[in-house]
């Protein structure tokens, strides 16, 4: 299968003030992702995971400078025009966020927020957009999707909200889904359900998945390959099974030991 996403020598620097020297967030990060592949980005908080995820969609907040290349389906994400980026976002590559309550507009019914993705990509017929949204809400496992679409985000449970975000992200069948800590804000039982849904959707669609997490357990059950970020550098890039068996970098080893103390003691 061919390469879907290639990140080459990506450096991110945060400009605090004009006079101060920039703070480095990511240093020389390179990796690539094939079509339909699942990759986990593992790192502690502050390792630059979220900035990496945002840079893939060229959504870095003002004040963060990016160098290097991010190629997605032949498009240079960092240098593409705004219009070109916009047509890719939501249609070819989507993102779900960590905190579903703050990633949804509190003033808008959730059905309208899912339908908005279709409308942003040229669907003129509001009824059709809405019907597609309700259908998608059903497909991400929300019961009574028609009624649920009429509710506001604060009226839903955490897991339901994350499913709504997922429905919006998957509505137009993207080739890549970037998920930034999609389960960290959820209860453990709900976490498992959402991960299961994520895997099922990924397989069903043959979609590539880039899952950002600090939790090796989450990545181990979801991703074929894992890259480890440590202090802004990519320190390991290996099949997840191999990483679990014989981690090379000291930081990876610490992470692996942390989830399997009993096994490794044998």
């Amino acid at each position: 299968m061919s390469t879907l996403l290639a990140v080459e020598g990506l450096c991110l620097d945060a400009m605090r003030e004009a006079s101060a020297s920039p703070t480095s967030i990511l240093r020389d990060v390179s990796f690539s992702l094939r079509e339909g592949e699942t990759i986990g980005v593992l790192g502690a908080s502050g390792s630059g995971k979220t900035s990496l995820a945002l840079s893939l969609l060229a959504l870095l907040p003002p004040g963060i400078m990016a160098r290097g290349r991010i190629t997605f389906e032949g498009h240079e994400m960092l240098t593409a025009t705004r219009g070109a980026r916009r047509t890719l976002r939501g249609r070819r590559l989507s993102m779900v966020f960590q905190e579903p309550l703050s990633a949804l507009n509190p003033r808008q019914r959730v059905g309208a927020q899912v339908a908005e993705v279709a409308q942003a990509h040229g669907e003129r017929n509001a009824v059709r957009a809405r019907r597609a949204a309700v259908e998608m809400l059903g497909r991400v496992g929300l019961a009574d999707a028609d009624r649920l679409a009429q509710r506001f985000p604060h009226e839903l449970a955490g897991g339901e909200r994350q499913r709504v975000l997922l429905a919006a992200a998957l509505l137009l069948d993207p080739a890549l889904l970037v998920a930034d800590e999609p389960t960290s804000a959820l209860d453990v039982t709900v976490q498992a359900q959402v991960l299961q849904l994520l895997r099922a959707q990924q397989r069903e669609r043959g979609m590539a998945l880039l899952l950002v997490s600090h939790d090796l357990g989450v990545i181990a059950t979801t991703c074929e390959r894992t890259v480890v970020l440590y202090d802004g550098r990519l320190v390991e890039d290996a099949p997840t099974r191999q990483l679990l068996r014989s981690p090379e970098h000291a930081h990876s080893r610490a992470l692996v030991d942390a989830i399997r103390p009993a096994e490794r003691a044998e």
Binding site: R89, M95, S102, A103, L104
Partner: protein, 281 residues
């Protein structure tokens, strides 16, 4: 949240009363031709009915030309409130558009808009408008709307820009962008509803500012021209008789005070509703 903020206002006693007063005044203005007992410009008896004190036939008395003051006040409300409402709408629309533009585009566009606002806001509005009217000569009510509205967008632009910049950094807006929403869609679907309560405050304050402005212009003879009545020129007709015919002054001053006061109370209660909404989140 937009809807709950306005719902909260519905339950607010002071807001209810202020809203009621504004509604009554607006209704009186709309229905003036049917409510007014006399023709506002008719001078039935300039000698015998000159400066008649309030009576059953003339509840607010008559003016120096024997015209019925109540009828002039009612018809004046149409003109005064019409100009005020038009100017308020114009200034809020203009301010919202420019504030949104500055917030969305950032960079030099933002610097330009903010700079212009900072400079113009330092100028006394009444004097600027008087200078402009004096330059162009007397103006039709439409030009008055354009002039008063066109000079009042500054605060709205400031409020809208600040509110939108705040929401632009929130995760739900970033999430909408992550799914391909264009800037105009983000403004329309996400930022305008978010800024709506603050815009309503700006609109109420704008109304409170333009009513006295129109009255002041008409009072110095640069606004609405006689014989067309407005609250400002009813007052103008009365100033010479302040000691002998108090009703001539009391009626327009009372009307302006009541209307502006109600608008200010409404703005204040709306602000309180926004604040308590924010506390609960």
């Amino acid at each position: 949240m937009a809807a709950p903020t306005f719902q909260r206002l519905h339950r607010d006693r002071a807001a209810q009363i202020a809203g009621g007063v504004l509604a009554v005044v607006a209704l009186a203005a709309l229905l003036a031709p049917w409510l007014a007992p006399f023709d506002p410009t008719a001078q039935p008896d300039p000698v015998g009915l000159r400066l008649a004190a309030p009576s059953i036939a003339h509840p607010l008395g008559t003016d120096p030309f024997s015209r019925d003051v109540l009828s002039r006040m009612l018809h004046g409300a149409r003109v005064s409130l019409g100009v005020a409402a038009g100017a308020m709408l114009l200034s809020v629309t203009l301010g919202t558009a420019l504030g949104a533009l500055a917030a969305m585009r950032g960079g030099w566009v933002d610097s330009l808009v903010s700079g212009v606002v900072d400079v113009l806001i330092a100028m006394p509005r009444l004097l600027v408008v008087i200078a402009l009217v004096a330059t162009f000569g007397t103006l039709s009510p439409w030009w008055l709307v354009a002039l008063i509205g066109g000079s009042g967008w500054l605060t709205t632009a400031r409020i809208v820009r600040a509110e939108m910049r705040d929401h632009l950094q929130r995760e739900y807006v970033i999430a909408a962008r992550a799914l391909g929403a264009a800037p105009w869609r983000i403004v329309w679907r996400h930022l305008l509803p978010a800024a709506a309560p603050q815009m309503a405050v700006a609109a109420a304050l704008a109304l409170a500012a333009v009513i006295p402005l129109e009255a002041a212009l008409s009072f110095v003879g640069l606004g609405i021209q006689p014989p067309l009545p407005s609250w400002g020129n009813v007052l103008l007709d009365g100033t010479d008789y302040l000691t002998s015919a108090w009703w001539l002054v009391l009626a327009p001053v009372g009307a302006v005070t009541l209307t502006v006061g109600s608008a200010l109370v409404l703005a204040d209660r709306l602000r309180a509703a926004i604040a308590s909404e924010a506390r609960e989140q």
